[in-house]
């Protein structure tokens, strides 16, 4: 298993909220393997202060981990994003992290995915949604 703490050992918990991105949807019409769709799907928008704590800059790869799976995506600084949260376009990548709540709403937790985020040296890879 890769070092969950990344090269400098930092990691932190954040809550992911997924959202709709029309440009990602448009790219999907060309096929889910299209580079445009992959590029638009493999991002997480984070607060600049959280990125500073992790020691990363824009477009740095980060590993997002839950008990259900892990994905590597690129971090994007978002001035509108609060500390402790992250925003991802709804995609097979976010779906690999999401769980289903059979108790309260009987809904997937797309708007509240609790992950651990850590810097990584790995590359974003479209096969990781398998």
């Amino acid at each position: 298993m890769n070092n969950p703490g990344g090269p400098l050992g930092q990691e932190m918990p954040i809550v992911i909220v997924t959202y709709r991105d029309v440009f990602q949807w448009v790219a999907k019409q060309k096929g889910i393997s299209s580079s445009d769709y992959q590029d638009r799907s493999t991002i997480v928008r984070m607060s600049s202060s959280d990125m500073k704590v992790l020691g990363i800059v824009d477009d740095a790869p980060v590993r997002l981990r839950t008990s259900l799976g892990e994905v590597v995506v690129r971090a994007k600084s978002d001035p509108g994003c609060k500390q402790g949260f992250g925003f991802m376009p709804a995609s097979p990548y976010s779906n690999k992290l999401a769980s289903y709540d059979p108790v309260k709403g009987r809904l997937p937790n797309f708007k509240r995915i609790e992950v651990v985020v850590a810097p990584t040296d790995e590359k974003v890879d479209s096969s990781q949604t398998g």
Binding site: V15, V17, Y19, R20, D21, V22, F23, W25, V26, Q29, K30, G31, I32, L68, G69, D78, P79, G80, C81, K82, F85, F87, A90, P92, N95, K96, A98, S99, Y100, D101, P102, K104, G105, R106, L107, P108, F110, K111, R112, T129
Partner: protein
């Protein structure tokens, strides 16, 4: 062929002013469609994107696919028919009839999206209105949705920018626009007043609004929301999945808030539904069973959460699943969809999707609207007639489901 006017089925706005120019069966020009509709329509011309007829991953003639699918359905002890959300009313009727003939479970995406809201509207507990009535609204609230990305022409064709009254100088429509959101979006940039909530905090916010109405809460935001509504004669709330998910699918607090607001102002709700005909399925199943989703025909008509697609999948119940007009392998948690590994899946879709790739039998069908006639129900409840733009030699969802019904009857 000159520019024909037709209805786009890219989302539940069902824009009916789309013009397409088709030459030699290919679209050469589109007018009025948004980027979503345009990309969707042009994708229909991409041969590599169109789903074929497949059995076990091999191209087969249609008849062989029909035979195999019928065999799987006949042999199934616990069949499930899911989706039909991107199908015409006519295809949905066939799908429901097929479910009934099989004694199958019937469910659609509304069980994990706008179902509770639609049920409330159909039961008369939640007031709604039609798009033409929006010209009389003086307050528009987008709650938990960003129409710029989900329904790109919503603001321009139906709500804000299409408003009849504009301020005297002609700068902006004479209607207040507000939103309740967890992050900065294009919609928040447009709004006169933005109510920012924490992710999952919509319930708390509604609680404070109700307390503010009763004079028991003095937070600035809740009082501002109440004042905004008190200054309105007719407000409309467009509800997105952000609100539904934040409330864990329990709309009781939201319904209570609506009742309060409607004591001094007319307030209506329109669900910002994604698929073009989810509301059509909900209505059709409601008319047949009294329920909009999560129905089992195994022993008469039964209804309950145990019959939702996600619960059925979680509990590994179905031994055969027919999925039409939906792509759950793309949109649902991977950890849940893994439970369908080994379960034979029959999939009807015009396009290659993650779900067609998981299916044992695939029917590449005609694109509803562009390539079929039929009817659909817009997000405001209006029935819209679809007039095909071209006639490919591809069967429609309705034709496939009808053939399956004949085979298993």
């Amino acid at each position: 062929m000159g520019l024909a006017q037709f209805v786009c089925t890219g989302c539940s706005c069902l824009c009916d002013d789309i013009k397409i120019d088709i030459e030699e069966n290919r679209i050469v020009r589109i007018e009025n469609a948004c980027i979503k509709g345009t990309s969707f329509l042009y994708a229909g011309d991409n041969f590599e994107r169109r789903a074929p007829f497949l059995v076990s991953g091999c191209n087969v003639p249609l008849e062989e696919a029909i035979e195999k699918a019928a065999h799987l359905l006949r042999e199934a002890g616990r069949p499930l028919i899911f989706g039909l959300d991107n199908c015409t009313l006519e295809a949905q009727a066939m799908g429901i009839a097929l479910a009934q003939a099989l004694g199958a479970v019937s469910d659609d995406v509304s069980s994990f999206s706008h179902g509770a809201l639609v049920q409330g509207i159909l039961d008369g507990d939640i007031p709604t209105c039609s798009f033409p009535e929006l010209k009389n609204a003086d307050l528009l609230i987008y709650w938990g949705c960003n129409p710029y990305h989900s329904h790109p022409r919503h603001l321009s064709k139906f709500s804000y920018y299409s408003h009849e009254k504009w301020v005297e100088a002609g700068w902006v429509p004479e209607v207040a626009i507000s939103c309740v959101e967890v992050r900065d979006t294009e919609t928040t940039s447009l709004c006169n007043r933005v109510f920012k909530v924490e992710p999952g905090g919509d319930g708390d916010f509604i609680g404070k609004i109700l307390a503010a109405v009763g004079g028991r809460e003095d937070s600035k935001e809740s009082k501002a929301f109440v004042e905004l509504t008190r200054n309105s004669a007719f407000g409309v709330i467009f509800v997105g999945l952000g609100l539904i998910y934040a409330l864990d699918n329990d709309l009781s607090l939201f319904t209570e808030m609506l009742s309060e607001l409607n004591r001094w102002t007319r307030f209506a709700v329109i669900p910002m539904i994604g698929h073009f005909n989810t509301l059509g399925f909900n209505r059709s199943l409601y008319e047949k069973t009294g329920y909009i989703n999560k129905v089992s025909f195994a022993a008469g008509i039964s209804h309950g959460d145990e019959f939702s697609f996600l619960e059925q999948t979680r509990n590994r119940v179905p031994d055969c699943v027919l999925i039409a007009g939906s792509d759950p392998f793309s949109s649902q948690p991977r950890s849940l969809m893994r439970n369908l590994e080994g379960v034979p899946i029959i999939c009807l879709d015009p396009f290659v999707t993650s779900t067609t790739m998981a299916a044992e039998v695939v029917f590449g069908t005609a694109i509803s609207g562009l390539e079929t006639d039929g009817k659909a129900v817009r997000m405001d409840g209006t029935v819209v007639s679809l007039l095909r733009g071209r006639t490919p030699e591809i069967p429609s969802d309705e034709e496939i489901l009808s053939q399956l019904l004949d085979r298993i009857s």
